[in-house]
């Protein structure tokens, strides 16, 4: 055991030493033995519980300071306590993805000589929202304060809020139109924004003059600083109690313990081996106003993932074969990829014990340089990196779930997260003032199915395990739109023995404004960006936007005539078209158009999750309940699941078990008759592949993957028995 009392080294040297020790011993900071834990396990656990309590209570207190409905209503915030080197010891609930991105931010400052200039002093406040330094996207603004005790740097306290407005080229935070860094909004690059526990006036002025809705950002800053100070003072009091040397030692042991626990949990819950999966994302912007001609307007990305679980329990995720970064807002930095890994692990494996950065240390990400996962240009935009990050980590969840199923922990298998498309807006508010806002009701998507039950309806997102859509009344206070509907979307979960959770759709009437910009992002076009498992189908996640300009809704309301409250279940003719007069628009992909005004109607739907298992095994009784409650249509029950429903005396659906059995036997026979050997199908496709007879976007996708990845090229060539490079004209 290396015995290190509070180090006298400067923090940069200490960080390098810590990394070297990890390299040499394989253990965090060279801690090969958990000495303090062995001495007194009860004290060890109690202290960690205290640290966690500091974090949770600091976050709850801060949420009351914030003015933003994102933070107050749906809890878009997380806080954590770090070692002097920037490794997370303990964290709160909330958007846990940022616990590790903040770690990157602290380390970046240390590596870049911040100790000398601008200096790290007691009472300083540092902020950052630069993803190449350490965050996911521009609205994720983080604040950290150093913790000093007896004149020594003994740790950091940090807090992140997702800002609802970042001052980019389009309003909101997930700046959909950003194609380069320079249009993403207000950047704060590892900047000292406060001293003596107070935010600098000039920093606040900069925020006030560069944001559409500065009150959110500025009050969130105050909330974050308050929570950091709260945690700092708690930690200092704790050190007074246990002693500085003890603190320095135990804080490191917590992390090493977290690392070991993660490895042990892999060995307990999974099966070693290689797991593979993929998903896709489509983007369609041709002809939309505002897009600069920097790259292809329409494109298709593949996201293959190979996960290895080694016999020592390490999880290695490899993104080789995916697409290059591009001139769009969906690129992701390694910090964001790390964050995605961290938040997924905290939900699937670290549901007990000491949750901290140790878990992340027991994993490895292979992010090929030049791809969207690791752009080789720091000018790449990352404002909507979730668009690719969420589908990718949805694949990770399915790969992990395969391992849980193999091991017998079926109750942990979970088809996973989906993208949760966001609507953002700006212009003139209902109060006649300038405004801008991201609408965060998207924090309540449908989840993928579980291996033993249906997915959660409108109650899960990968990035914030405390899913919440917020109250309609609160959202209406903050935007010039009124809800005329918020409803479950039938069949929006993937079909299966257990269906994916359903999503919801909101229908709004634009009200009391003559200038409302509406922008959406994270909506895959032309392809589903999720998947099912073990025979379950993907959720239908390429919905279009439907809106009506200059509608006659006020006239209808005046007459007491029925209005449209959702888009309905006819994909060819929506309820809007059926009930409202006006200029009907259907938009594929990101919604970027001219401003709306009072009397317009707009709809936006979120995503459901993938299904699990064979549809023909679905419970008919549960299905009747689903149809009665609007989660499935009768049409789907019969056509997709083979479940025949009758009506009872009151007109409610009841399953006809005998008819269902007969109908399903017919469907199974039809399946067997229709299906042909895979080898025949491969043979029939080969000439198409050799001729690269695909849509231009598909062809481009293959060419890009082949250019970047020798492994993809080899796998492709071996599978089809073609020369992939020749087929796609790659040198």
């Amino acid at each position: 055991m290396l015995d290190k009392p509070a180090s006298t080294l400067r923090i940069r040297e200490r960080l390098l030493e810590s990394e070297r020790l990890m390299e040499e011993t394989g253990c965090y900071d060279g801690i090969t033995e958990l000495e303090l834990r062995n001495q007194d396990p009860l004290k060890f656990e109690t202290l960690h519980t205290k640290l966690r309590a500091y974090c949770v209570s600091a976050r709850e207190m801060a949420r009351r300071i914030s003015a933003s409905p994102g933070v107050r209503e749906v809890g878009e915030m997380v806080v954590a306590i770090y070692t002097p080197e920037g490794d997370a010891i303990a964290l709160s609930n909330g958007i846990m993805v940022h616990v590790h991105t903040m770690s990157r931010f602290i380390k970046w400052m240390i590596r870049n000589g911040y100790e000398d200039n601008p200096c790290i002093r007691d009472g300083d406040i540092f902020a950052n929202n630069d993803a190449f330094i350490g965050t996911v996207q521009v609205p994720d603004v983080m604040d950290v304060v150093p913790i000093f005790h007896s004149g020594k740097l003994v740790g950091w306290a940090g807090a992140v809020c997702h800002e609802l407005e970042a001052g980019g080229i389009t309003p909101g935070g997930d700046v959909a139109l950003a194609q380069e860094r320079f249009t993403e909004g207000l950047f704060v690059c590892a900047e000292k924004v406060g001293e003596n526990d107070e935010l600098r006036r000039d920093y606040v002025i900069r925020c006030e003059r560069n944001l559409r809705m500065p009150i959110y950002w500025v009050l969130d800053e105050k909330a974050k600083v308050a929570s950091c100070i709260d945690m700092r003072e708690s930690v200092k009091a704790l050190i007074d109690e246990v002693g500085l040397d003890y603190w320095m030692k135990i804080s490191k042991e917590f992390i090493e313990e977290g690392r070991r626990a993660q490895l042990a949990r892999s060995r307990q819950l999974t099966v070693p081996g290689i797991y593979r999966g993929h998903t896709f994302y489509g983007h369609v912007t041709a002809g939309k106003p505002g897009y600069q001609p920097l790259g292809d307007p329409d494109w298709l990305y593949n996201m293959p993932i190979e996960m290895e679980i080694t016999t020592d329990g390490k999880i290695i995720m490899d993104f080789e074969g995916t697409q290059p970064w591009g001139f769009h807002s969906m690129n992701c930095t390694p910090a964001g990829m790390d964050g995605g890994m961290f938040v997924t692990l905290t939900q699937h494996m670290n549901f007990e014990g000491l949750v901290n950065d140790g878990a992340w240390m027991a994993t490895e990400l292979k992010l090929p340089k030049g791809t969207w996962t690791n752009p080789d240009s720091e000018m790449a935009a990352t404002a909507t990196s979730w668009a690719l990050l969420l589908p990718a980590y949805g694949v990770f969840q399915r790969l992990l779930s395969r391992s849980f199923i193999a091991r017998g922990f079926v109750e942990e298998a979970f088809v996973g997260q989906v993208n949760s498309p966001m609507i953002e807006m700006g212009g003139t508010s209902q109060y006649g003032t300038l405004f801008g806002m991201a609408h965060f009701e998207c924090a309540a998507a449908g989840s993928g199915a579980l291996a033993i039950k249906d997915g959660l309806d409108t109650a899960y997102v990968g990035w914030n395990p405390e899913s919440d859509m917020g109250n309609i009344e609160i959202w209406e206070q903050n935007m010039p739109m009124l809800y005329i509907g918020r409803s479950i979307v039938p069949n929006s979960g993937g079909a299966g023995k257990y269906r994916g959770g359903c999503s919801f759709l909101s229908t709004w009437l634009v009200s009391k404004t003559d200038h409302l910009r509406l922008v959406t992002s994270e909506h895959s076009s032309r392809v589903f960006d999720n998947g099912g498992m073990c025979g379950g189908y993907p959720a239908p996640t390429c919905q279009k936007h439907r809106a009506v300009r200059n509608s006659n809704i006020f006239e209808l309301a005046g007459k007491g005539a029925p209005l449209a409250h959702h888009t309905g279940t006819n994909p060819h003719r929506s309820e809007l078209e059926l009930r409202l007069e006006g200029e009907h628009v259907t938009v594929e992909g990101p919604y970027i158009t001219a401003p709306h005004k009072t009397g317009d109607v707009f709809t936006h739907s979120y995503n459901g999750g993938g299904g699990y298992g064979d549809v023909l095994e679905r419970d008919p009784v549960k299905t009747a309940w689903d149809v009665e409650n609007g989660f499935l249509t009768k049409e789907a029950a019969e056509g997709v699941f083979g479940i025949v429903l009758d009506e009872d005396a009151d007109g409610f659906p009841v399953a006809n078990l005998d008819a269902t059995k007969r109908h399903r036997a017919g469907m199974r026979a039809e399946r067997l008759a229709k299906a042909r050997p895979v080898s025949d199908w491969i043979a029939s496709q080969r000439s198409r592949v050799e001729a690269a007879a695909f849509a231009p976007e598909v062809k481009k996708m293959y060419a890009s993957a082949i250019k970047l990845s020798p492994r993809f090229t080899k796998d492709f060539s071996d599978f089809w028995q073609v020369d992939a490079k020749a087929a796609f004209g790659v040198e």
Binding site: F280, R402, F409, I452, Y537, V698, W720
Partner: protein, 164 residues
């Protein structure tokens, strides 16, 4: 540490364990004797005798079949050597037209079949739908899982591999 009866594990796997009890299983410390109880539950479920070595999907199992280790469907159909991709020995239905996609998604906006197709991998004997891939046309079929079977038994389970 937790431990459950074989009956409880059987209900859990079948999705019939009452939710409050399932919740408790999810929240409790994991039962370290789960794997072999799980395999025993599955072995009871199948009508054939080959010992199951590792489940790999809802109705697919790697089992010891004489001297060979093969991937087997619950109905008894063998997809051959477990190290090879079982999908290549399966039957397939590909949905690459609006009409065929509409059968599964009657009320939603559909993907563009030029950009994405749905591939259904089916047991040629019993018609069970074992796996669905949503992929761009021309995308190689994925080999979902290559377990380290030897390493798993040797290092993690500390039990001999291969039946009795």
């Amino acid at each position: 540490m937790s431990s459950y009866s074989k009956e409880v594990i059987a209900d859990l796997v079948a999705g019939t364990l009452p939710w409050p009890q399932t919740r408790r299983v999810m929240s409790a410390y994991k039962d370290d004797d789960r794997f072999f109880k799980y395999v025993a539950v599955l072995q009871d479920r199948v009508e054939w005798k080959d010992p199951i070595l590792l489940p790999v999907s809802d109705h697919l199992f790697i089992c010891q079949s004489g001297d060979e280790r093969v991937t087997k469907c619950e109905c008894g159909h063998s997809f051959g050597d477990y190290r090879k991709n079982w999908k290549l020995k399966a039957h397939i239905i590909v949905r690459d037209t609006e009409e065929s996609l509409r059968e599964i998604y009657p009320n939603s906006d559909l993907p563009d079949p030029e950009w994405m197709e749905i591939r259904e991998f089916i047991c040629p004997e019993c018609g069970t739908l074992h796996e669905v891939e949503a992929a761009a046309p021309g995308y190689p079929i994925v080999h979902d899982f290559e377990p380290d079977l030897e390493g798993f038994y040797r290092d993690w389970l500390k039990k001999p591999l291969g039946g009795e």
